[in-house]
Amino acid sequence: GPLSERRLMDVRLGELPAWLATCNFSPQGLLGGMQKAWSSYYDKYINVKRGGPAGITMLLAGYCILSYSWNYQHISKASFLGSV
């Protein structure tokens, strides 16, 4: 279909800058994008008939990695045998 209506996973690498240009970067647009991303994740991994711990575990792992990246600057200054 037309470039502006395709989802991010369907956009080819070469078309990425053009796709980014069609994006709506206003606050409503960003919020709408986040809502769409969350609901597609939720419907694919959590809101399924026989879901297991995998959906939430991926979310928690992502949260851990995000927290690590926020703390990285502080943690990287620690020597190995000292404390963080």
Partner: protein, 227 residues
């Protein structure tokens, strides 16, 4: 002693933007709003079952007026439970280790129970300051003691939660530092320390859940006296 063990409790900020708000909002992602379907996904079912069980358990001793508090108490319990449990994951930040946050939760809620009691049934609320059957000479002293214990309740609520969680996190960090430091020197002792760490982590999971429950239970008890 390295004072930098306390660095894990510094409120995180990224280029000046406080991230504690994100740590507070993240549990909302893990609790989906139930939709109108009869058969929802497993997470929603589990969540509804837990909430109904908890609310029923909490509201049993309260009269009908107290049932107005069911939403705020259940949501408070859920928030504290999720925050405490998420704080046990590596590298995450636990907002409930901040005394400011716990006092901000404890003080207004306690004050609300106190003012509800004083407004609707003042003599009953004041009557709680003197237990039944006290010998007459002890009455003045006991009233002072009971007033002190009443006024110290919000402080106790806040500090209990803060101290339990902070102590737990500190212990985990200390013992894990010891385990890593001992590994090249005495591997056997290091493995022993690691088993202690495992037991401590199980304890911390329990403490996280129990502390959240105790906070809300005490608030409901204060409410029972006053409503």
């Amino acid at each position: 002693m390295n004072l930098s063990f306390f660095d894990q409790f510094a409120s995180p900020s990224l280029m000046g933007i406080p991230l504690i708000l994100l740590s507070l909002l993240f549990p909302a992602l893990l609790l989906p709003t139930p939709n109108n379907r009869w058969l929802t996904n497993r997470l929603s079912t589990l969540q509804s079952w837990l909430f109904l069980l908890f609310t029923k358990q909490l509201m049993l001793p309260l009269n009908k007026n107290g049932h107005k508090w069911s939403i705020i108490l259940t949501s408070l319990m859920t928030l504290l439970l999720m925050i405490n449990l998420l704080g046990l994951l590596p590298y995450t930040f636990t907002p409930t280790t901040q005394l400011s946050m716990n006092m901000a939760l404890a003080f207004p809620l306690w004050l609300a129970t106190l003012l509800t009691g004083l407004r609707n049934q003042p003599s009953m609320s004041l009557g709680h300051l003197l237990p039944e059957g006290t010998p007459t000479p002890l009455i003045p002293a006991l009233i002072l003691i009971e007033t002190t214990s009443l006024l110290i309740r919000p402080l106790a609520l806040g500090v209990r939660l803060t101290a339990n969680l902070t102590a737990g996190h500190l212990l985990i960090q200390l013992i894990s530092t010891a385990t890593i430091a001992l590994l090249p020197i005495m591997p056997t002792v290091s493995i022993l320390t690691m088993s202690i760490l495992l037991l401590l982590t199980i304890l911390e999971v329990a403490v996280a859940m129990i502390q959240a429950y105790v906070f809300v239970l005490l608030l409901s008890l204060y409410l029972q006296e006053n409503i």
